[in-house]
């Protein structure tokens, strides 16, 4: 541990341009800030031997996971990221805490803060809840997904994965395919990718991809087959059945047929295409097993990079005066 801390001292200097205390969304970050996050993630990933070894640069600090929606991978990824940097973690979920007894989420968060935590990581079904918390709490707030709004660390890990493979994001064409309307992953990817110079296509059924995205400078497409040959990256979003009251397309069968990524469609892609999915994936709906497990798939690398970007976010938000 000693030597690892020493290593941290040598290689990690706190970026002067980073002043934020919360990570709420990517829409409000600058390209410089996003690059700082990605560069830091890459360095921390290297320093931890691919997110496997432990440093102690954040020892004595505590992260609280405050999840009002179910999550396994994001919650565990944040916990692991904290532990890899030597911090402690504490877990809260809506079932089993006072929230189920009628307490408002702000009160719950304040209670947890009073226990002396440094970061609150929150997920909630309502857009903007992390923003409200950031105004109420003294500690750092990280958004782990707020309704259909944003999921900034997911956007960052997707971008880090692409950058590792291509060395850049500038000039690449990235298609986000599926349920754009209800996807926080889509929104975080859209803002982040565009700020770093990628061309973003949002593709899916017309009921799930608003033509108004066009007015904001994103390409809107409804035919996957038409855009396939142009794409450098395909990010296949899960159909969020749980967020839809009335199904926005006739059947899963029709959806899979029009938007599912399969072996036949793979043959029409660029030879170096990257296949990504934020998971959990519906095999046979948005992606067939041969694609998910095939040579172009980077789905599992995304999971590892999730720990890297979350380590970076925790370290940066904690501010410059850490015992490095």
């Amino acid at each position: 541990m000693e030597s690892q801390s020493h290593l941290a001292n040598e290689e990690l200097t706190f970026p002067e341009l980073w002043t934020r205390r919360h990570l709420l969304d990517l829409e409000s970050l600058s390209a410089i800030e996003i690059n700082i996050l990605l560069d830091t993630a890459q360095r921390l990933k290297a320093m931890t031997g691919g997110c496997r070894r432990k440093l102690s640069i954040l020892s004595g600090k505590t992260l609280a996971n405050l999840f009002f929606e179910n999550s396994t991978r994001t919650r565990n990824s944040f916990s692991l990221a904290a532990k890899r940097l030597g911090a402690d973690t504490v877990e809260f979920s809506s079932s089993g805490s006072s929230v189920s007894k009628g307490e408002t989420f702000v009160d719950t968060a304040k209670t947890i803060q009073a226990m002396g935590v440094d970061w609150v990581v929150t997920r909630h079904s309502t857009p903007g809840t992390p923003h409200l918390l950031s105004r109420e709490l003294e500690c750092c707030v990280l958004n782990a997904g707020d309704g259909a709004h944003e999921h900034p660390t997911q956007g960052l890990l997707d971008m880090l994965t692409i950058r590792e493979h291509r060395g850049r994001l500038d000039g690449l064409t990235v298609a986000l395919v599926g349920d754009i309307a209800h996807s926080r992953t889509a929104r975080s990817n859209m803002w982040g990718l565009r700020k770093l110079g990628a061309h973003v296509i949002v593709c899916g059924p017309a009921t799930l991809v608003s033509p108004r995205w066009n007015e904001l400078g994103f390409e809107v497409a409804h035919s996957l087959d038409e855009i396939l040959p142009r794409c450098d990256v395909l990010n296949l979003l899960r159909i969020q059945f749980e967020r839809q009251k009335a199904r926005p397309f006739p059947s899963v069968h029709e959806y899979a047929n029009r938007y599912g990524m399969n072996g036949k469609r793979m043959r029409r892609c660029k030879s170096d295409i990257l296949i990504m999915a934020p998971g959990p994936i519906n095999r046979g709906v948005e992606i067939t097993p041969e694609v998910a497990d095939g040579p172009h798939s980077v789905i599992l690398e995304q999971v590892t990079n999730g720990i890297a970007v979350r380590m970076a976010a925790l370290w940066l938000l904690a501010g410059p005066n850490k015992e490095l």
């Binding site: 829409e27 857009p127 809840t129």
Partner: protein
């Protein structure tokens, strides 16, 4: 009880659109009625109170077509007394309160209860808009005839729309017997499923569930058609969209009798405010985009929209403190409506004070079938005195309403109520009145 004293309002600019008056004049009120305009000194009684309205506007008291007073059942949000105090502070001398109470006001006893409490509170005149359907279930017509006998002056299922077209048609038809209006809040509920914000660019980017404008447009179209078919009295409001405005402009040219109103919050801020995710901006109708605001402003100015209603929907702090999905719609608006109208429409030159008084007093009174909204001799002595040039900053902590949630917190506005006089009695004042004894 002593005889109500006489009140002389001097030096003010008297604006009474009902008589075409706009000039400096003195107004004498006595025995609860307007006694004289420009009385000579000999005509003054021996004892009277004197209000100096120098540099102020003296106009018929404001009439609100839609106020939620929440009592009985939701006294944590507002009571008839606190809401009444807020109303007179906002220049209102008459308010129409909606049946959004628990239980909803769908019986003569419910109407009686509200009227009795209001009479003892010393606020504005309170009139009841009773339920159009039993328990506001939207299916079976309430006992409209008995409710009318008990004093209800109109019917509505507010805050819900009357979704069942057959019910609305029956109610419009049936109400012709009493010559009373139906107030419909035009929304097609099938199109707004759990929406919280205007379905525009901001909601798209923020991932908020949308309230599409067509939900209102369709409901207005249906309502207007049913009013035409039945010949019943119909008021649609509050409206908020360009589509509603266009439709109303066309049907009014065809001579169909339908009136419409708008809330002050739809005259100012846009849905951009939702970027703060602050539930203060979760309002009904939702804050719309700029082009809708401009369209609505123009329609108020040209009279396509007849009236401005406060849209007062008070909700307790603990309810509004929630996230944007959980927090209820609504805000406290009685105390800011006049100032918002003055700031957005009069001081911008879109409308003169006479038109503002028409939208806030004369037209609402006519729509509600009340004998107010005028200062003609012998009419009720309901008067508002307004300082048109006072600049102030909205601070909800100074509200008399129990609800402190307002979309205008911190906004600088111009125009303020100085006196509100109901039945010849000063019910609200920012300045003392002088006694005058001969």
């Amino acid at each position: 009880m002593s005889e109500p004293q006489a009140l002389l309002i001097e030096n003010g600019r008297l604006i009474d659109p009902s008589q075409g008056i706009d000039r400096v004049a003195r107004l004498l009120l006595s025995r609860g009625k307007v006694q004289a305009i420009d009385p000579s000194d000999e005509d003054l009684p021996n004892y009277y109170l004197c209000v100096d309205a120098r540099n102020c506007i003296v106009a018929p008291g404001l009439v609100d077509l839609g106020t939620e007073l929440r009592e009985p059942g939701h006294e944590e949000d507002e009571t008839i007394e606190s809401g009444g105090a807020a109303a007179v502070a906002g220049g209102y001398t008459s308010v129409l309160c909606s049946a959004n109470t628990d239980p909803p006001i769908d019986t003569p006893a419910g109407v009686e209860l509200v009227r009795r409490i209001a009479a003892s509170c010393g606020g504005p005149k309170v009139h009841v808009i009773a339920c159009a359907s039993n328990r506001r279930d939207g299916e079976q017509m309430a006992e409209l005839g008995l409710l009318a006998e008990a004093g209800a002056i109109g019917f509505s299922d507010s805050p819900r729309p009357i979704h069942n077209s057959a019910l609305l048609k029956r109610a419009l038809d049936y109400c012709r017997m009493f010559n009373l209006p139906i107030f419909d809040r035009p929304v097609d509920p099938d199109l707004v499923e759990q929406g919280v914000a205007h379905d525009g660019m901001v909601a798209l980017v923020l991932g908020l569930k949308g309230l599409p404008t067509e939900a209102e447009d369709l409901a207005v179209a249906r309502d207007v058609r049913l009013a035409e078919a039945t010949g019943g009295r119909l008021h649609v409001g509050p409206i908020s969209t360009m589509g509603s405005v266009d439709l109303l402009r066309r049907v009014k040219q065809r001579g169909i009798k339908v009136s419409a109103s708008v809330c002050p919050h739809n005259l100012w801020h846009s849905d951009e405010m939702l970027r703060s995710f602050d539930s203060r901006f979760k309002l009904h109708p939702p804050l719309r985009s700029i082009r809708h605001i401009e369209s609505v402003l123009a329609a108020v100015a040209d009279g396509t929209i007849d009236a401005i209603q406060s849209g007062h929907m008070p909700r307790a702090r603990e309810k509004k403190m929630n996230d944007i999905d959980q927090a209820p719609f609504g805000a406290s608006t009685l105390e800011t409506t006049l100032a918002v109208v003055a700031t957005r429409l009069v001081h911008t030159g879109m409308m003169d004070w006479t038109s503002a008084i028409v939208r806030l007093s004369c037209k609402p009174a006519a729509i509600a079938g009340l004998d107010v909204g005028t200062l003609s001799i012998g009419s009720p002595a309901d008067v508002v005195v307004i300082d048109p040039d006072e600049v102030w900053t909205v601070d909800s902590e100074s509200f008399l309403s129990q609800c402190r949630s307002t979309p205008h917190e911190g906004d600088q506005v111009k125009g303020r109520v100085v006196y509100t006089i109901v039945g010849g009695e000063i019910r609200f004042t920012r300045r003392p009145a002088l006694e005058h004894i001969v």
